[in-house]
């Protein structure tokens, strides 16, 4: 009997984009998409795309086949749809687009009222994140006031703030937010990543970093680490 496992499930977050459809005027749609891709071709190349139908849920007959072809023609990878109406879902599935969780109108997560949603946006963790643990702040920021051990992983769709020693993996903007940042103090991370762009521990150690608060952000597809200098008021101004 074969004892070695044949596969392994890994928790993973691949950067993907949510394409919110605002109009089904496909001619204009194609023009605008061509413009967008021209500006940042490497961003769109093989980019997994989730089609969000929330803003167009009133339109029942969406030509999903054509939409799919448009995306593929621009080298993107349509994953499926989210949000929208049941009729749209049936049509999407008939066109081999899967129904994905998320989206405000979707049955997967009905968020009752706006207020609750706002409170949920930031996730706060006050106890150590130990080896083997994974913490994910979906749709928002993550604040950790304790340590993140080697072998632990913290992720957020938004920014990640870490106030204890950082020795594990930290990923901000995991669903593709290029503006997301990581804020931390003691940086001994195994990996830091913004929207899928990353630095390994060795990369981090090459930059002789002094103690103190740092921010990590994306600039022209490069992950930068920068000391946050306290703003000193010049003497003559006091």
């Amino acid at each position: 009997m074969k004892k070695e496992p044949c596969f392994q499930f890994k928790a993973n977050f691949l950067p993907c984009a949510v394409l919110q459809i605002l109009s089904d005027d496909w001619t204009h749609f194609d023009q605008q998409l061509t413009d967008a891709v021209r500006k940042a071709p490497s961003f769109f190349l093989n980019l997994p795309v989730v089609i969000d139908l929330d803003k167009i849920s009133a339109v029942e007959q969406i030509n999903f086949l054509h939409l799919k072809e448009l995306l593929v023609a621009h080298q993107m990878v349509p994953l499926g749809v989210r949000g929208g109406s049941d009729a749209q879902h049936q049509l999407a599935e008939a066109n081999s687009l899967s129904l994905l969780p998320g989206g405000k109108l979707s049955n997967f997560d009905k968020k009752q009222d706006k207020k609750e949603e706002l409170i949920l946006l930031t996730k706060l963790v006050t106890t150590p994140v130990r080896s083997g643990m994974q913490i994910y702040a979906r749709d928002g920021d993550l604040i950790v006031t304790a340590s993140v051990s080697a072998g632990a992983e913290v992720l957020a769709d938004g920014n990640v703030h870490i106030y204890g020693p950082l020795r594990g993996r930290v990923l901000a903007g995991v669903t593709g937010n290029l503006q997301a940042r990581i804020f931390c103090d003691a940086l001994e991370a195994e990996l830091v990543s913004i929207a899928g762009y990353y630095l390994t521990k060795d990369d981090c150690q090459k930059q002789a970093l002094s103690p103190g608060m740092k921010q990590i952000y994306l600039e022209n597809e490069h992950v930068r680490i920068e000391m946050i200098q306290p703003q000193r008021v010049p003497a003559e101004m006091v």
Partner: protein, 273 residues
């Protein structure tokens, strides 16, 4: 109120069983009625260390399967009358333990015992999780090396999420760090992590440091837990740890390398100048 203590580590061979045996003896010597339970089904080590292997008739699994009652399976310690051992089965596999079965046995032990010491198997699988599931306190046994520290860190993560206390939202398990097989000489040489290295990573209260000691091997061979060897360094370190566990204020020993007086004097002078 009965207190259930799990002796855990993640990594194997770090000194969990040695610690379970000595801790149980230490608590019982202080007059607390103590049961020590071997959760390492299939290996059965605890009864050897406790020197009662020849008296094992029924075991933990027999009790869970209702093939014997608890009193038939409990073995009274040869030295201390307050101490009882519930041995593991050597012939069954790990799946023989069930949550309900363990819950029932621990509940019954709680009727008569002050302390229940659970000797956890290695790993992070079912057996180890069952050993910690009902615990009130955890003694995390760690050796001063990177892989052991990492595994202990992982156990601390499980202790904060995968235990009954955590699930019920009660006060969290009290965590204690026991650093074992510590050799100040090897720390000085840089072969081992130092106490402060380990403390910085795990950041939980230190219960004690047990030195690497020949006395442990001698104790295992004779079937008398090392805490009974009161002249040995490891025996004294375990006595100290039990005292600290019971809330006594005992300063830490066996942390520094022994230096000769001349070296000490020279160092002292240097500091004065």
């Amino acid at each position: 109120m009965t207190k259930t203590i799990v002796i855990t580590s993640g990594k194997g061979g770090v000194g969990k069983t040695t610690t379970s045996a000595s801790f149980a003896v230490g608590l019982a010597t202080r007059g607390y009625k103590t049961a020590v339970v071997d959760f390492d089904i299939g290996l059965r080590n605890l009864d050897l260390i406790m020197g009662c292997e020849r008296r094992v008739v029924y075991d933990f699994v027999n009790v869970i399967r209702k093939e014997a009652n608890l009193n038939q399976a409990l073995i009274r310690d040869k030295h201390i009358k307050e101490l009882f051992i519930l041995p593991a089965s050597q012939t069954r596999d790990k799946d023989a333990l069930t949550v309900e079965g363990v819950a029932e046995v621990l509940a019954e032990l709680s009727k008569t015992f002050d302390y229940i010491v659970c000797d956890s198997p290695a790993g992070i699988e079912r057996g180890a999780q069952l050993a910690m599931y009902f615990a009130d306190s955890a003694i995390v046994v760690t050796n001063p090396e990177v892989s052991s520290v990492r595994d202990s860190d992982r156990m601390l993560g499980l202790l904060s999420s995968k235990t009954k206390r955590a699930e019920d939202g009660r006060d969290k398990i009290t965590e204690h760090l026991l650093l074992t097989r510590y050799s100040p000489k090897r720390v000085a040489r840089g072969d081992m992590l130092s106490l402060s290295d380990v403390n910085e990573i795990l950041a939980i209260p230190l219960l004690g440091v047990i030195p690497e000691s020949q006395a442990v091997l001698r104790a295992s061979n004779s079937g008398d837990p090392v805490i009974l060897d009161k002249d040995s360094d490891a025996g004294q370190a375990y006595l100290d740890a039990v005292a600290r566990f019971l809330g006594e204020n005992v300063s830490h020993r066996f942390i520094e390398e022994e230096r000769n007086w001349l070296k000490r004097l020279l160092n002292f002078k240097k500091e004065v100048v």
